[in-house]
C-alpha cells in the first residue's frame, strides 16, 4: 500500500456551542473514511478543549439572525426572536438548553465525549501558542488528548499536504 493517506486539518476559532460541532462532525466522518485528522484550537476555539469551559459552551440568540421562534416549537415561520428579548437574563441559557436537548435527541454526543471519540480514533489535537499566552493558560488547563501547545508555524509544518478547514 503505497497510496498516500488523505489528511484534513481543522482550525477551530469559535467557542460557541453551535460552532463546536462542525469540526467534530466532519472530523469524525473523516476518521471514518480513513483520513488523518488534526485539529488546531485557537482563540475562543480553545474553549472546546479547556477543562473549565468544555461542558459550558453556549449559544446566544443575540445577534443571531438565523435563530427563529419556530425552532422553539412555536409555529411562527420566519419570525425571529426579538433582539431585545435576547438580552434578557436566561435567554442564552434557554437557547443553549434547547440546542443541547435537540442534539441529545438525535444521539449526538456532548462536546467532551465527542472530542474523546475523535482522540480515540486517532485525531491529533493542538492548542495555539499565541492564544495560550494571551489567555494565560497552561497545558494543565486542557483536557486529556491535547497533544501539545504549538505555534502557527508548527501547525503549518505538521499539516503539509493536508486540506485545511477554518471554522
Amino acid at each position: 500500500m503505497t497510496e498516500q493517506t488523505r489528511k484534513v486539518a481543522f482550525i477551530c476559532s469559535k467557542g460557541d456551542l453551535d460552532m463546536a460541532y462542525p469540526a467534530l462532525v466532519m472530523g469524525w466522518a473523516a476518521l471514518g473514511n480513513g483520513i488523518d485528522v488534526t485539529i488546531f484550537f485557537t482563540f475562543w476555539g480553545m474553549d472546546l478543549i479547556r477543562k473549565l469551559r468544555q461542558d459550558h459552551l453556549e449559544i446566544a440568540p443575540v445577534g443571531n439572525t438565523s435563530m427563529k421562534m419556530s425552532m422553539m416549537g412555536v409555529n411562527t415561520g420566519n419570525l425571529g426572536i426579538p433582539q431585545i428579548a435576547g438580552v434578557l437574563p436566561g435567554m442564552t441559557a434557554f437557547a443553549t438548553k434547547l440546542m443541547k436537548d435537540k442534539m441529545a435527541k438525535l444521539g449526538v454526543p456532548p462536546v467532551g465525549e465527542y472530542l474523546q471519540m475523535l482522540v480515540d480514533g486517532g485525531a491529533k489535537l493542538y492548542a495555539c501558542k499565541m492564544s495560550v499566552d494571551m489567555f494565560g493558560l497552561k497545558m494543565e488547563d486542557f483536557v486529556d488528548g491535547v497533544c501539545d501547545i504549538v505555534t502557527a508555524g508548527d501547525f503549518m509544518d505538521m499539516t503539509e499536504g493536508a486540506q485545511i478547514i477554518f471554522i
Partner: protein, 105 residues
Amino acid sequence: MATRTIAGKTVQVNEEGFMTNPSEWSKEIAVEIAKEEGVGELTPTHWKVIEFCRQDAGNGGKAPTLRRITSVAGVTTKEMFALFPKGPAKKVARISGLGKPEGCV
C-alpha cells in the same frame, strides 16, 4: 447491478463494492474481504464485531454506525480503530456483507 466473485462465490455488489444481498454472505467471504481491506487475519474480537453488525442489520441490510457499534456491542472506539484501521465502520460493513453505514455520528 454488478457482481463479483469472492471466495469462489458470485455475489451482487453496488458501485462502491458493498454487497447488496446480506444472505449471499459467508464466513469465507468475510475472510477474503478482510484481507483485501488490509485488516488481515480475523481474530475472535473481529468476529464478535462482525456478528454484532450482522445481527444489528437484521434483514434490512443496514450496517450500524461506529457510534452504535461502540455503544451497543461493548467494543471501544480505540479497539475498533485497532481492529479495523482506517475507517472501522465502513470496513466492518464491507466484511460483514452489509451496505455502507449511514448517519453522521
